[in-house]
Amino acid sequence: MTGNQFTEGGTNMTKVSFKVTVNGRAREATVPPRMLLSDFIRQELSLPGTHVGCEHGVCGSCNVIVDGQAVRSCLMFAVQVEGSEITTVEGLTQGDALHPIQQAFWEEHGLQCGFCTPGMLATAQELLAQNPDPTDDEIREAISGNLCRCTGYEFIISAIRSAAVKLRETDTETTPQPV
């Protein structure tokens, strides 16, 4: 990690350089330490699919996958992801095809305005990687940290239940792929 001195708003801060892999693509960046991972993803990487809701860890809209785990990107600093692998909603699609979880959300009407959806997808991705056949209660528990103000959640639960079936079928047809 290297640093160079600069001044912003009268405060001396040292920018920090780091490398990170986002959606399979190696990136290098130099940012001030106070830049949140959510802002880094949206502004520096121009990946606006990650949504910023509350910015204090309550709403789950900004959830992304860091090294296989769902995390709140508003509660990490960008400089902390040095050497990590990140998947955002832009990295879910396989070419032009929706990921099976996205397809299930489409089919089951698991979204209305779509603001919470990228965070819901990250949460669902982690849940289904750990538990390929969750009960409805387990789905409810998993998404309890993601707020949706439109759907009433029922269609999201249906979507994740349907996605679980799709992913299990995919697994039996092909070599298992990490989601």
Partner: protein, 286 residues
């Protein structure tokens, strides 16, 4: 909301972190960041410097040290929640984690960071006090051990000094036959507790032995309920005893009015939850 500017250090070993912490400056330790970063986003905390300890893999452990289970500063809530050692020796901790934050937060947040944050509505400060955990505080050249009951001084206030790191929590394994109870009311699981009551006890010759009770979310700081413990010791468990103790605790409580409800409502919660917790603990004691 964005945090104010700070300088950032990310040492590769504990000694380097301690040396950095010994130098002057308004510095905070960054572990999981799940309490500190929201405070910074709100600008309730504006440290000039953060020391990120996430590379100190030597602090990432949950270890059986014979009479105690030792949990390092980088052990995440998710790891503790799913740990077989924790489930075996401290089922109350595993149970409580269903009420603590949500999966994405538990993936990053740490027990030690949670204790240092010392939120009045946080569950673990109460649980660590009834389990009589000890906290290991390190600084350059020296260390000290402090009992959990002496660590929490008030809302967001602890006994840690500016140049110290909480590196380890040491929880003694409970005596055989210890029963436990945990009850909480919150808007939804994972949100701030409106009232949490926790207890452990044993039953000896039909009488209550070594009762330990603590409460969070009501007063300005999670704390043991010593008077209630004394009132229960060597008594025969029963509904009228538990209701009387709960009444006394509720009357002595100093809850603040909040969006969670009136002070009277919080006292009602104590009257409802404390007898349930004691009943569960008696039922589980063998």
């Amino acid at each position: 909301m964005k945090p104010s500017a700070f300088s950032y250090e990310c040492p590769n070993d504990l000694q380097a972190a301690l040396a950095l912490l010994a130098s002057d400056g308004d510095t905070r330790i960054l572990a999981g960041g799940q309490s500190l970063v929201p405070m910074m986003n709100y600008r309730l905390a504006q440290p000039e410097r953060l020391i990120d300890i996430n590379r100190l893999s030597e602090l990432d452990y949950i270890r059986d040290d014979g009479g105690v289970i030792a949990i390092g500063a980088l052990a995440r809530h998710a790891a503790i929640k799913s740990s077989d050692l924790i489930k075996e020796h401290f089922p109350i901790v595993a149970e409580a984690y269903d009420w603590i934050a949500h999966a994405a937060v538990r993936n990053r947040g740490t027990l030690c960071g949670n204790l240092c944050h010392a939120d009045a509505a946080s569950e673990m400060p109460a649980i660590m006090q009834i389990l009589e955990a000890e906290l290991v505080l390190l600084k350059v050249g020296t260390s000290r051990v402090i009992a959990a009951q002496d660590f929490f001084l008030g809302t967001y206030e602890t006994a840690i000094a500016a140049d110290e790191i909480l590196t380890e929590v040491r929880i003694p394994k409970p005596a055989a036959g210890t029963g436990w109870g945990f009850e909480e009311v919150a808007m939804r699981r994972g949100d701030y507790a409106w009232c949490t009551v926790v207890a452990t006890l044993r039953i000896s010759d039909g009488k209550i032995a070594a009762p330990r009770i603590a409460m969070a979310g009501v007063n300005d700081c999670a704390a043991r309920l010593r008077d209630a413990e004394a009132a229960l010791t060597e008594q025969t468990p029963g509904a009228s005893l538990f209701d009387a103790v709960a009444d006394t605790v509720a009357d002595a409580a100093t809850p603040a009015e909040s969006s969670a409800g009136s002070a009277a409502y919080k006292r009602d919660l104590i009257r409802a939850l404390l007898p349930r917790v004691l009943n569960d603990a008696v039922t589980r004691a063998t």
